[in-house]
């Protein structure tokens, strides 16, 4: 076959194919595709009252084969064709485009984070105003929008937490959700079982504010507990052990029934406004404000807006703490550790402590967001802490550009937001096979997005790494100049 060959340097070595050669190539494509599709698609088996029968769907197989041929044809003309590729392909013309992109991002870079911050602070107000004058996204009310933003911010915070471990210290952690679970269950168990037992029920409305630091601390302890056995591991070996750790925590939560109530889960008190419940009752938030300050009618939105601002504050705290840490010797040591462990040790860095602090601090942020998650949800069960959550958080970090904090915001919005959009796309039902919902295709979409990212922006949305210290002049470096990470 005369398909293009990928050369070692990362670019494409392309032979220009004549039309006849392309036709031949497409013919072979069809010849190979169709027989593959026969057993997979064309022959459909069915259990009919205990009897296995089958019927054929050759038309569907033919359609798919045709689609493959057309797609390959398009690839020939648009991507593998050197002239068209020059306009499409980023890596082929890396030098000039990256220079242009760098200058653009240099110009807008400083404003992006500030703009995001202002947008984040004003979001509920904007949503409220929009609601008041009647502008609303279809089936996307004020309440829903604020709730979705809250949901995304949880993932932004988780992404920032995991970024400390994966992006800065270079330790691949596939079990991050375990710390999220530790945080959530710390809040659940302390607020429903232990605080009432120790201090009486009066403390329960304040439970979140007391337990959140404790949850973070417990998660950090678990981070160290995970860190110790994996101190000598790197790369794939580390990933496997952390993956197992995540599953162990989940299985313990399921099976230790007397402690965690297993798969039934625990109902937990929702977040309060420093003790005031968001409920339409005497002593609720609206009632309290009305009697003491100004008249305020009860509205469900108040609770959601408060939740939003709490997670926004927590996420911002995560952001600024991480940013500060990067400038301290410990943050520099994390980055050096990611680059070269042996060099670190010979420079006098205690790699054991450095790794453990990375695990502990990353886990702590996971614990904080876990306890928030529980207080928002009002219910925790092991089902919320499956492996796919870890993978999702890792995907957010990787898509955003490892080590880049702003990139994580964008990728969290892209991934979590797109999930919600899939939920809304009812019109897609006309195209999709009967009995399927658009939401079921969301993972397919994430997979596709990942593949496209790896092809066109292999280092994530934001690939620049700002030096933490400067000598005389500040100079950020394009991600294109960076070597792939080691181990």
């Amino acid at each position: 076959m005369s398909a293009p060959v990928k050369s070692g340097s990362g670019g494409f070595e392309t032979k220009i194919l004549s039309n006849a050669q392309i036709a031949k190539d497409l013919f072979y494509t069809a010849l190979i595709t169709f027989p593959i599709l026969v057993p997979i698609v064309a022959i459909r088996t069915q259990l009919d009252q205990g009897v296995l029968t089958w019927h054929s769907r050759f038309w569907l197989a033919s359609c798919l084969a045709l689609a493959v041929v057309i797609a390959r044809g398009l690839m020939h003309f648009l991507v593998w064709n050197p002239r068209a590729a020059a306009s499409l392909d980023v890596s082929a013309s890396a030098k000039p485009t990256s220079a242009k992109r760098l200058s653009l991002s240099d110009r807008i870079g400083p404003y992006v984070s500030r703009g995001l911050l202002i947008f984040g602070l004003l979001l509920p107000i904007v949503a409220h105003l929009g609601h008041a004058i009647g502008i609303e996204l279809p089936s996307f009310g004020e309440l829903r929008l604020v709730d979705l933003a809250t949901y995304i911010l949880i993932y932004v915070m988780l992404g920032w937490g995991l970024n400390v471990v994966v992006g800065l210290a270079g330790l691949l952690d596939l079990g991050y959700v375990a710390f999220y679970a530790v945080g959530a269950y710390s809040y659940a168990l302390l607020s429903t079982v232990y605080f009432p037992r120790w201090f009486g029920t009066g403390v329960v409305p304040f439970a979140f504010y007391i337990t959140m630091p404790i949850a973070g601390l417990l998660a950090a302890c678990w981070g160290v507990i995970l860190g110790f056995p994996v101190l000598r591991l790197r790369g794939d070996y580390l990933a496997i052990v952390t993956l197992a750790f995540g599953e162990i925590i989940r299985l313990v939560l399921i099976n230790w029934f007397s402690f965690t109530q297993g798969p039934q889960g625990i109902n937990v008190p929702k977040l309060t406004f420093f003790g005031l419940k968001f409920k339409d009752e005497p002593g609720g938030f609206a009632d309290f404000v009305s009697t003491h300050f100004f008249p305020l009618a009860y509205n469900r939105v108040q609770g959601y807006i408060f939740l939003y601002y709490v997670i926004l504050a927590m996420a911002l705290a995560t952001y600024f703490i991480t940013k500060k840490l990067r400038r301290l010797p410990i943050g520099r040591a994390w980055e050096a550790l990611r680059e070269d462990e042996i060099a670190c040790r010979s420079l006098g860095i205690n790699t054991t402590n450095t790794k453990l602090t990375a695990f502990a601090i990353g886990a702590m942020f996971g614990g904080f967001s876990g306890s928030f998650f529980a207080a928002r949800q009002g219910f925790v069960s092991p089902e919320s802490f499956v492996y796919i959550e870890s993978a999702l958080i890792l995907a957010i970090v990787v898509l955003g550009g490892l080590g880049s904090q702003i990139g994580i915001v964008f990728s969290a919005v892209a991934i979590m937001g797109s999930f919600e959009i899939f939920r809304e796309m009812d019109f897609m039902k006309a195209v999709l096979p009967t009995g399927t919902e658009p939401i079921q295709f969301r993972m397919l979409f994430v997979g596709l997005a990942m593949v496209l990212m790896m092809r066109f922006r292999p280092r994530g949305f934001v690939t620049k790494r700002e030096p933490t210290v400067y000598l005389k002049e500040k100079k950020a470096i394009s991600g294109d100049l960076v070597a792939e990470g080691h181990g």
Binding site: P329, R332, A333, E335, A336, R338, E339, D340, I342, A343, C344, R345, S346, L347, G348, I349, N350, T351, R465, P467, T468, V469, Y470, L471, K472, E473, K474, K475, I477, L481, V482, A483
Partner: protein, 240 residues
């Protein structure tokens, strides 16, 4: 005779069951350049790494300034005043030149950078030109300069250099070696140099050791070894 700064007595190191060092005795006096030459696989780098605690010696003792460092963890050894420019340089490729140099000052809690940076930049002016450049984008010679500069930032009493000439053009090798000589002559820095480039190393060294197969087979001053016919045959005239 000047004071002994680093001393090894019967050092034996193993990788699993394979013995890499078979009882090494050596002495590095304060203020001198000592060199260990030998061919590939002789155990030179292993000796260097063993001094620094990874891997640890299974037998024998290594004494630095009267202190037994044989069983010490690597990062603690670094705090005693030993600095290393490891084999293959091992700079931090994604950090800037300046950040790399700063990492070198870790043992001194990143203090007094303003005083020490000019010294490194005076030794290697190329590094100053490229101070905000990502270290991974430097040329091989510049990376070697950076590795030495980074080690110097720790203000060490003993500098261990593992094959600083590896893979470099002859003119750069000359530059690196004259820098090492200057460090020793002007600052009185003690240097232990592991090299395959026997000609350069022996010319520079006050004392020298020849290593073969995990053992030290010859020792003497650099000039002495340079004159020995068996050294000339094995390391100077044959391959180069």
């Amino acid at each position: 005779m000047s004071k002994v700064l680093l001393q090894g007595e019967g050092v034996e190191t193993y990788y699993g069951k394979i013995q890499a060092l078979k009882g090494i005795d050596f002495v590095v006096n304060e203020g001198e350049i000592a060199t260990v030459i030998g061919s590939n696989g002789a155990g030179k780098s292993t000796l260097m790494m063993t001094i620094f605690g990874t891997p640890r010696a299974r037998a024998g003792r290594i004494i630095f300034d009267g202190k037994d460092i044989t069983q010490m963890p690597t990062h603690e050894i670094a705090h005693l005043g030993l600095a290393q420019s490891p084999e293959g340089r091992r700079i931090f490729p994604r950090m800037s030149v300046f950040e790399n140099l700063q990492m070198g000052a870790t043992v001194r809690n990143l203090e007094n950078l303003e005083e020490d940076l000019p010294k490194v930049f005076k030794l290697f002016p190329r590094l100053e030109e490229r101070r905000n450049q990502r270290a991974g984008t430097l040329s091989g010679g510049e990376q070697q300069m950076l590795a030495i500069g980074r080690a110097m930032m720790a203000k060490p009493r003993l500098l261990l250099l593992d094959e600083p000439s590896l893979g470099l053009a002859p003119i750069i090798v000359k530059l690196i070696f004259s820098a090492i000589k200057a460090l020793n002559a002007e600052e009185g820095l003690t240097v232990l140099l592991v090299e395959q480039n026997a000609n350069h190393a022996l010319k520079l060294a006050h004392s020298a050791y020849v290593m073969v197969n995990g053992k030290i087979t010859m020792s003497g001053t650099g000039a002495e070894l340079l004159r020995r016919p068996e050294v000339r045959a094995a390391y100077l005239e044959g391959g180069h």
